[in-house]
Amino acid sequence: MEITKFMKKLSSHKGVSDVALIRDNVVKLDLGKEDSKDFFISLKEDYGFEHCSLISAIDNQPQFELVYHFSVIEGSIFIKDSPKTVMIEIHIFLERDTPTIESVSDLWFGANWHEREAYDLMGIYFLGHPDLRRVLLPEGFAGHPLRKDYVYEIHEEEW
């Protein structure tokens, strides 16, 4: 599938908006939180994104933003006359009082620890994750230090 055709198909999915090409091989889009799981399943099964590169969590104050990067390794999407492989960047916005989203670690095992890290440092809860524990900070650590409103002195004694 050519990348332009792929972009046209993307717009027809539920919850998808603002599909844009930010580099010759990178597609960017915004996705609604409710439709995220269905979209991720079709991303893996129908379009062949085999590899989850990164999940980053951003504290935009007040809301949170999750940025997913997926890549094609041997998949079916290509760019004409170029050896480059395609990547997709997905932005999902979460409300501050409900920072939850469905986990994708059952689709891509590589997302497992990225989700654990987002939980550990930013306090995003991934529903259905098999093992949502802290990964970099020790167990029993209080708070999520990459949040912009984190103040160490408040949590110092708790920990």
Partner: protein, 364 residues
């Protein structure tokens, strides 16, 4: 026999850095594993939010001491993408040379660390002797042995010193002879092959889903190298091949991962030679580098260990609002229960050594 958990690490000869591997064993056979990280967490991402963009190159150097130039380069590339800086042609060539020298040093570091894991202390001395040659080369333009801070946003710190090309050529020639020695010492060694062949197998489709990239994925026969597939600097102008292992008995095992890295070193030698041939004259730093940035951007590069990605968000000030680092080893270690299962306890050093662990980048 009853199953039980054994804890290896954080201080253990197998770990190559501070981390713990808990393995569940049934007699000698591994049933399950649970890796634990965080002993080396220095909160690089948080520190980066408090520093100006150009200050962070010192932090990125310290992500991995065995491969610091590649990490600084990934950061510089991402910031250049964010700010829209155009790097001069000569600087791109110098960067490519430095990256390939670093890749050679990093792969030699890995090979030297891998040999004692298999009980071959002599191998460590051989490989580290040659790594020193490349560290000397990297020291000439940058002035330090491990943490170079040579690649800067917009170019490189300074031009290459006089006589650098001749010195490099002399060392590359010597290194090529040494590679033949390695073939006799390791590839043709029966004991080495017994420890590595058909051990730690995984297939390409498994590896992609597990998030394994770099030489470990190419060892399964997948032609995926970001220097070609998401080309940066001048890799698309240079004639080189992605090194993989052909499908067949024992591919995707520890031995194939060893061979991919050896072949990659040969390819790096080729790339460095061609860079010197094609290198134009000119400035080595962009004439104007802004200090403020807004919006978001990311770039990914082929680190010595796999796919490195940095995602940056700017809010219009001179410091990054959010800086996210993707380390290839982070996901590779997370997948270790999948490729350890079914092997013996004695195979753990052989398998975990073969994937080239670096904890500095993993714990950030």
């Amino acid at each position: 026999m009853a199953e039980m958990w054994i804890s290896m690490g954080p201080q253990h000869p197998m770990t190559h850095g501070l981390w713990t591997l808990k393995v569940k064993v049934d007699g000698e056979t591994i049933v399950d594993a649970d890796p634990e990280l965080g002993y080396l967490h220095r909160s690089v991402e948080k520190m980066g939010e408090r520093r100006k963009y150009f200050m962070n190159t010192t932090l990125t150097d310290r992500l991995c001491y065995a491969s610091s130039t590649t990490w600084t380069h990934c950061y510089a590339l991402s910031v250049e993408e964010l700010m829209g800086v155009e790097v001069p042609q000569r600087a791109q060539y110098i960067r490519t040379i430095m990256l390939e020298l670093q890749r050679l040093a990093s792969h030699l570091m890995w090979a030297g660390a891998y040999m004692p894991d298999l009980g071959h202390i002599t191998g460590a001395l051989y490989f580290w002797r040659d790594r020193e040659l490349f560290l000397n080369l990297l020291e000439l333009p940058s002035g330090s042995r491990l943490l170079y801070n040579y690649i800067r946003i917009g170019g490189v710190k300074r031009d290459l010193p006089d006589g650098f090309e001749e010195k490099t050529e002399r060392i590359l020639k010597l290194f090529e002879q040494r590679l033949d020695e390695y073939a006799d010492l390791f590839e043709n060694s029966k004991i080495f092959r017994m420890r590595t062949e058909d051990v730690g197998n995984f297939t390409a489709s498994q590896a992609m889903n597990l998030g394994i990239t770099g030489p470990n994925l190419r060892g399964c026969g997948t032609k995926f190298d970001l220097r070609k597939q998401d080309s940066y600097e001048i890799y698309d102008e240079i004639d080189w091949e992605i090194q993989t292992r052909e499908a067949g008995p024992g591919y995707g095992d520890c031995f194939s991962r060893y061979m991919v890295r050896i072949d990659e070193m040969k390819e790096s030698v080729k790339i460095i030679r061609e860079c010197f041939k094609k290198m134009p004259a000119g400035p080595t730093m962009a004439s104007k580098v802004p200090i403020r940035a807004s919006g978001d951007a990311f770039r990914r590069t082929e680190d010595s260990r796999g796919e490195a990605l940095m995602y940056l968000v700017g809010d219009g000030s001179d410091r990054p609002y959010r800086w996210k680092i993707k380390s290839p080893m982070f996901t590779t270690i997370s997948a270790c229960p999948h490729y350890l299962k079914g092997y013996k306890v004695a195979d753990i050093p052989s398998i975990m050594g073969s994937i080239d662990i670096c904890i500095g980048e993993t714990d950030k």
